[in-house]
């Protein structure tokens, strides 16, 4: 029950926070205004709840640290559970916008949820800071009301491809990922970058989302010197375990969901050696990350992963936007433009800014999973081995050239003979 955050508790926390804030500082005139309403679309029930619960933890950790004040205004958090399906996302975005009249939306989690509400947030001119990685919404079909401070599906996988080719010295790689859009886009990004630097993808395997046993696919991993997996949710755990149990020793690389820090407490020895590329890393040494991780440990006794960090950074963006406008967000367009123009130096993932399509430009960390340096009671640790700075969603390609290519799919880029 400790995780349960009811609306009432949040409001109570808000009131207490506001009271504290007014005690500490002379209240600026603006603080007398109506509270700023922060809407969160997340998933707290069903199979996607793992990431969704962390999203909420990230937001609440931020708000607690700020005593529920942003830009001099009291914050009301309205947290909505979509149940992880598009119809639920639509209903809940209506609840947030039409009934609760929120000023900004954080979330949703999954790409299909974001696609389901994309038209709606345009109609209602609602600034939305999403975690969902659907590439085209900041690329070929950009949604002007969307800001993404996390990453597109292939944003981290492109540096991963570069690293695999140049530093891991891999030549021939088999990719394996869930048979759906997030998988296609991740593996497509990896393939494009890896092949650009001289690597070769020999085979692409696509198990369905629900695959209790990966053995039929593991049996096909041959004629290669490395494996790239793009699993999400609890699947990376199962995949790595089964991969290891069949005695496969080839190096494995992955993206932000496949090697997420939140999985460190679940992984066992089978994951040692896993190389992952992620827009956030637990071991980044900066003030903001220290505050964030300490807050997560204090509030929830758990280390944050990518989902919690993504939402924490989203909150920082909203906070900075509010500050810049003196707490006045009556003009949504102006609020959006202000946030888009921000560049924030101290976030848990290092400095970030946005490109003109609203997608983040920031660090991508390459980490190696091992036992060395483990903190916070963990047995395993993702140790950063390389940081790619200022990575944009287009990687090294010019924007025009990148957008002229079709979006990555199951069969694009194709597997070449090599």
């Amino acid at each position: 029950m400790s995780r349960k955050i009811t609306r009432r508790k949040v409001l109570a926390g808000t009131a207490a926070g506001a009271a504290l804030a007014t005690l500490k500082f002379p209240a600026p005139a603006i603080a007398q205004k109506a509270p700023f309403k922060l809407g969160l679309l997340t998933v707290k029930t069903g199979p996607l709840a793992e990431g969704g619960i962390q999203m909420e933890q990230g937001v609440i950790t931020f708000l607690k640290q700020k005593n529920y004040m942003m830009g001099g205004r009291k914050v009301d958090l309205v947290s909505a559970d979509t149940g992880g399906n598009p119809a639920g996302a639509k209903t809940k975005v209506q609840e947030l916008v039409e009934r609760d009249k929120v000023d900004v939306i954080l979330g949703p989690l999954a790409s299909f949820e974001l696609y389901a509400i994309s038209d709606y947030i345009i109609q209602h001119k609602m600034p939305t800071l999403s975690l969902a990685a659907a590439q085209d919404l900041t690329q070929r079909k950009p949604n002007p009301y969307l800001l993404r401070a996390s990453a597109t599906s292939s944003q981290a996988m492109q540096p991963m491809g570069h690293y695999a080719a140049t530093e891991m010295k891999l030549k021939r790689v088999v990719t394996i990922s869930e048979d759906f859009a997030f998988g296609y886009e991740q593996m497509g990004g990896f393939q494009a970058a890896f092949e650009k630097d001289g690597g070769c993808i020999t085979k692409k395997l696509w198990p369905p989302i629900v695959t209790p046993d990966y053995t039929p696919y593991l049996a096909q991993i041959n004629d290669c010197d490395g494996v790239c997996q793009g699993f999400a949710g609890s699947n990376p755990l199962r995949f790595m375990k089964q991969y290891h149990s069949f005695g496969l020793k080839l190096p494995v690389c992955t993206g932000e969901t496949g090697g997420d820090d939140a999985l460190l407490k679940s992984f066992g020895d089978e994951a040692v050696g896993l190389i992952s590329a992620c827009p956030y890393t637990l071991d980044l040494e900066n003030d903001s990350n220290k505050r964030f991780v300490d807050g997560m440990m204090k509030n929830y006794n758990t280390v944050p992963g990518f989902y919690a960090a993504g939402l924490y950074v989203n909150c920082q963006v909203v906070d900075a936007g509010l500050k810049a406008l003196g707490g006045d967000v009556s003009n949504k367009e102006k609020f959006l433009e202000t946030m888009k123009g921000l560049s924030i130096a101290d976030t848990p993932r290092g400095p970030i800014k946005f490109d003109h399509l609203g997608n983040v430009v920031g660090n991508i960390f390459i980490r190696k999973l091992g036992k060395e340096g483990a903190k916070y009671g963990l047995k395993l640790w993702n140790k950063t081995v390389k940081t790619y700075e200022n990575v944009s969603q287009f990687w090294v390609w010019p924007e025009k050239e990148y957008l002229a290519e079709p979006v990555y799919t199951r069969s694009y880029p194709p597997v070449k003979k090599c």
Partner: protein
């Protein structure tokens, strides 16, 4: 060659796991005519309870096998409770049975999320079964081979229980003709509780035995229930042999289908299920469906 041997052996081990999963479902369905849609939830509950016992509570860590037996008992108690409090009010009412079993599965899923959170939990392979068996160039995990053995032991034990013991005879009598069984002094209501508890125990046991391969996570229930249904349909309802053969068939279909027909991976189990139902509605080996 390696590839084919690997797939064939794995088909049998996966079939073994499916047998553990579906035997309880088949038992309850075959004997009591209850479509127990909580079966996936019982599987998941067993896995969560077992994983917790293995990781240790109150600084007492249990051995894998002890934990498996204990979690099976916990789940059996839960199943018996469901039968005594709810299902026994609803004999011969399949619609109400569907409603109540699905309702309970919603509650169990949310309960697990509440207690264990959303993070997946890894179940460690029992230490004496870590490692591989080598056959030429083929490598196969020892634990998976052990599953074949566990499934075989469970199958024989169930067969002995049903065919060779007094309890088994009473169960069969109670199922064939409950009124007559009552007349000769068998307490049918008690028998039904035992059967349901036994089916639940098998589900919970399967959950923890599957743990080192599947791990435990929210949604495991929804992933496993359809598999149990496919096994029962392909094998036919109401017979132990049916679910045994059905499990093996599904094991082979799953492994070879996914490897050879990746384009059809999403339907690889349901297409054959549909075909069987259309051509032989009673299942491959079953009696006429009710």
């Amino acid at each position: 060659m390696n590839f084919w041997i690997l797939l064939a052996v794995n088909s049998i081990t996966f079939g073994g796991l499916l047998f553990l999963l579906s035997a309880g479902f088949s038992l309850i369905f075959g004997l009591m005519r209850i479509p127990n849609l909580t079966h996936g939830s019982l599987f998941m509950l067993g896995a969560y309870v077992g994983a917790t016992l293995i990781m240790g509570i109150l600084s007492v860590q249990l051995d894998f096998w002890l934990a498996a037996v204990l979690s099976a008992l916990v789940v059996a108690a839960f199943g018996a409770l469901i039968e005594r409090l709810l299902l026994r009010r609803l004999p011969g009412e399949p619609l109400a049975q569907v409603l109540v079993t699905l309702g309970i599965s919603f509650m169990v899923a949310d309960f697990c999320l509440m207690v264990w959170g959303g993070d997946p939990i890894s179940v460690a392979t029992p230490t004496h079964l870590v490692g591989f068996v080598r056959y030429g160039v083929a490598v196969f995990p020892l634990y998976r081979l052990a599953i074949i053995g566990i499934a075989a032991v469970v199958a024989v034990a169930l067969w002995l229980l049903l065919e060779r013991t007094r309890l088994g005879a009473m169960i069969r009598a109670g199922v064939d003709d409950p009124d007559m069984a009552r007349v000769v002094g068998i307490r049918v209501s008690q028998i039904f509780t035992i059967v349901f508890g036994l089916g639940a125990a098998l589900a919970g046991f399967a959950g923890i035995i599957g743990g080192p391969i599947l791990s435990v996570y929210p949604g495991l229930d929804q992933d496993m229930l359809p598999l149990a249904l496919v096994v029962v349909i392909l094998g036919g309802t109401g017979s132990l042999l049916g679910s045994f053969v059905g499990s093996l068939i599904v094991g082979f279909l799953y492994n070879f289908g996914q490897a050879l027909l990746p384009e059809l991976a999403y339907f690889i189990l349901f297409l054959p299920m549909l075909l069987v139902l259309v051509l032989r509605p009673q299942g491959l080996f079953g009696r006429q469906l009710p």
